[in-house]
């Protein structure tokens, strides 16, 4: 009973913050989000997320990943860039069943550097995409995976 009440209270606090967060994310954006995360190809997920914009490879993006990931279930990834007006950073893993791993929306005032840990099912290319001033830039690196991270 206590557990339920805690969850309810947490839910209530969460709800008001969510309400604030929801206003920052229009409904159209949410539909695009689901599609992108379910897409089985990198190109498909890119289109779902960003529309038909072209990608330019740019080495002003620093993508930090291990060369060899011993545990594919926990692979640390850091993306940072000194580009101005960055609005979004996304991370793709080209051989995962659903390549889009995470997408970060960065409001003005938030640094264009994010770190996260992702699962990689096998050796593959990790691709970082940065949206700055409405344009898309990318860089990628291969990560060798010893033990796959999708489990089972």
């Amino acid at each position: 009973m206590r557990e339920k009440r805690r969850l309810l209270l947490k839910g209530l606090i969460g709800f008001t913050t969510m309400a604030a967060a929801m206003t920052a994310m229009p409904r159209l954006a949410m539909a695009k989000w689901s599609k992108a995360f379910d897409n089985a190809s990198v190109e498909g997920a890119l289109t779902d997320l960003y529309g038909d914009a072209a990608l330019t490879t740019d080495d002003a993006i620093t993508l930090k990943v291990p060369e060899i990931a011993e545990n594919g279930a926990v692979v640390p990834v850091t993306v940072k860039t000194k580009m101005a007006n960055v609005t979004n950073i996304s991370i793709f893993a080209d051989k995962n069943p659903q390549p889009l791993a995470a997408s970060f929306t960065l409001p003005e005032g938030t640094a264009s550097e994010v770190s996260i840990r992702i699962r990689l099912g096998e050796t593959q290319v990790v691709k970082a995409v940065v949206e700055a001033d409405g344009k898309l830039y990318t860089t990628e690196k291969e990560v060798k995976v010893t033990i796959g991270g999708c489990g089972g």
């Binding site: 969510m18 995360f37 692979v75 069943p97 659903q98 970060f104 409001p107 550097e113 840990r117 999708c150």
Partner: protein, 100 residues
């Protein structure tokens, strides 16, 4: 959810460790051979003074007990940041932490 928020020069650096199984929905229970249902955080948001300063959308490929790190300019020592996650089963959790 463990949150460490600390001022570093003029930025508030936030490190978050959320406790969550992040089940991909691709695993099978070895005994019953049934698929373990997907349960993963879809969205992680940080608000400060009523503004969203960070918004992450996750897919199934984010590791168990997600760790993220980011920094933003508007924070000051003593301010509160609120991290909220929502998962695919609509469970949600919000935790506050002071910026040190």
């Amino acid at each position: 959810m463990k949150i460490k928020a600390k001022m570093k020069r003029d930025m508030a650096v936030v490190k978050v460790l959320a406790k969550h199984p992040m089940e991909t929905g691709l695993r099978k229970d070895k005994k019953t051979n049934e698929v373990i249902p997907a349960k993963f955080i879809k969205e992680l948001v940080c608000t400060h003074n009523g503004n969203v300063v960070f918004h992450a959308d996750f897919g199934r490929a984010v590791s168990k007990n997600p760790y993220v790190s980011f920094s933003f300019a508007a924070g000051k020592k003593g301010d509160i940041v609120t991290m909220t996650w929502t998962d695919n089963t609509d469970e949600t959790l919000a935790v506050e932490a002071p910026i040190k």
